[in-house]
């Protein structure tokens, strides 16, 4: 069977890190900036970065509607940090006019922990990924404030706040598995493509 082709939205952010992790796992990973590039992939990763910038560029270059259509069609999509914001149906603390692709039945708050001084790393227990805790890096990170009926939590902080969610073929994390070297989240995502 051919390696699954995975696009990484490459408008802005740490898309190279995602491409490197996915290629390390044997996927045919490609940067995606144009609608025609999206049409050629089986799944999509939306990287960390600045959600306001990704929103503007995706609308300016005709990517927003094709991505929404792909999500509605059931394409597997994984968003980290800004990517989670882009996948959320409702975004709090967004700037005026900011839109998201939507798809995940959740309410997400941007910059939920505060400024960069409040950015941190910690270990998370994620039963779906095995017994070993996952080391997670939160950078000016969002959190999932409300889970809709269709989505379920994959990971919480010790105080119970939700930082990883799944809904069918959609995955979202507040943190950045692409910068730690732990590939389990990407492996989990790739199982949705096979």
């Amino acid at each position: 069977m051919a390696a699954p082709s995975v696009g990484v939205l490459a408008l802005q952010g740490d898309f190279r890190e995602h491409l490197a992790v996915l290629r390390g796992l044997g996927a045919d990973a490609r940067p995606v900036r144009r609608p025609e590039e999206l049409a050629g992939v089986d799944g999509l990763v939306i990287p960390g970065g600045e959600s306001t910038v990704m929103d503007k560029l995706s609308r300016a270059f005709g990517m927003a509607e094709p991505i929404k259509a792909a999500i509605a069609d059931g394409m597997p999509v994984y968003g980290t940090c800004a990517g989670l914001i882009m996948l959320a149906d409702t975004v709090r603390d967004r700037i005026e006019g900011q839109e998201s692709f939507g798809g995940l039945d959740v309410v997400v708050r941007r910059n939920a922990f505060g400024t960069q001084l409040d950015s941190f790393e910690t270990d998370l227990d994620i039963p779906e990924l095995g017994d070993a805790p996952l080391h997670a890096v939160f950078i000016r990170a969002p959190i999932v404030e409300e889970l809709g009926a269709k989505a379920h939590s994959l990971a919480e902080l010790e105080d119970g706040r939700v930082v990883a969610v799944e809904q069918g073929n959609l995955l979202g994390t507040s943190f950045h598995p692409e910068v730690t070297g732990d590939t389990r989240f990407h492996e989990y995502f790739l199982t949705k493509l096979r």
Partner: protein
């Protein structure tokens, strides 16, 4: 942390990974100089990935002269209040108390910047002492590695700020990239002398030689004034671009800012850069670096 939103338990704040990580998230983006809250909003609406809060843009510092210092805390707080994207602010080289103040104001990144008047002509700030991350300027690889040794979590090539002349930025990014490539071609026994010549720690030199890149994100700065300038920097291998005077010293800042953002993303697509370059009004007038007398060049500050 006293912040009520902070998580409990064994969390680590201000680690290298967290500091360098924010710079990773800024990649492919444009960081814009702003001097008021209104300008910060314009920058955010145009697609800036972060803003640099300062009292005067480099072109005005250059024109007005005098000692340039950290900005007024009220101004920085107004800018932090007005936008949701990261806010950076500048401290003078070696002025660790200005840096302490900026950290207390909760800026997201500190630029220890040659654009301000240096406070110490020998030492830079010990950046490991801070929770907030630092970006520092460099004109060559040795300078970049010394700043990283001192704790910088992001490097920007310096260029010549406030000129609108991109030639020095070109020189510095080419120099850094070229020196990294040259390191990669050296055999293991040559890296000891390379470290000596670069005046940088041996272990860091080996790391760069093996990986073919700096261990932190490399942006470029100083003289970028057009979408094509930004794309030039990206094609030369920058991870992103700082634009200082080039936006708010131009005829139509909001349009120009959005155009530079687009050209930074589609830096390898000439048709997209052409589209972004249309109808932007007057670029900043600028000054040729060759016409700036040596004592007035900012890039020579820092060592």
């Amino acid at each position: 942390m006293t912040d009520s939103t902070a998580n409990t338990g064994n969390d680590s704040f201000g680690t290298s990974r967290v500091k360098r990580g924010l710079a990773e998230m800024l990649k492919g983006g444009v960081i814009m100089d702003v001097v008021t809250a209104d300008q910060a909003k314009i920058a955010e609406d145009a697609g800036a990935v972060a803003v640099m809060a300062l009292e005067r843009v480099p072109a005005d510092i250059r024109a007005q002269g005098g000692v340039a210092r950290m900005s007024d805390p009220d101004l920085i707080e107004q800018i932090i209040e007005s936008v949701s994207i990261p806010v950076m602010a500048k401290a003078r080289i070696g002025h660790f108390v200005e840096a302490q103040v900026l950290q207390a104001l909760k800026v997201d990144y500190i630029d220890e910047s040659e654009v301000l008047s240096p406070a110490d002509y020998v030492n830079h700030i010990d950046k490991w002492d801070f929770t907030v991350p630092f970006v520092c300027g460099a004109t060559n690889l040795g300078e970049a590695l010394r700043r990283i040794t001192e704790g910088a979590a992001m490097i920007r090539s310096k260029g010549e700020a406030g000129t609108g002349d991109v030639s020095e930025a070109t020189k510095h990014i080419r120099t850094i990239k070229g020196e990294i490539a040259a390191l990669g071609a050296k055999s293991a026994d040559e890296l000891y002398v390379a470290a000596k010549e670069l005046q940088a720690p041996y272990d860091l030199v080996v790391e760069v030689a093996r990986s073919g890149r700096l261990p932190v994100v490399l942006f470029t700065a100083g003289g970028v004034a057009t979408p094509a300038d930004a794309a030039l920097m990206m094609q030369l291998g920058a991870d992103g671009v700082f634009v200082g005077s080039g936006i708010f010293k131009s005829g139509e800042p909001a349009k120009r800012a959005a155009a530079i953002v687009r050209a930074t993303t589609f830096y390898d697509d000439p048709a997209a850069i052409a589209d972004a370059s249309r109808g932007l009004g007057e670029a900043m007038v600028g000054i040729n670096v060759a016409d700036v007398p040596a004592p007035h060049r900012l890039a020579t500050r820092g060592w």
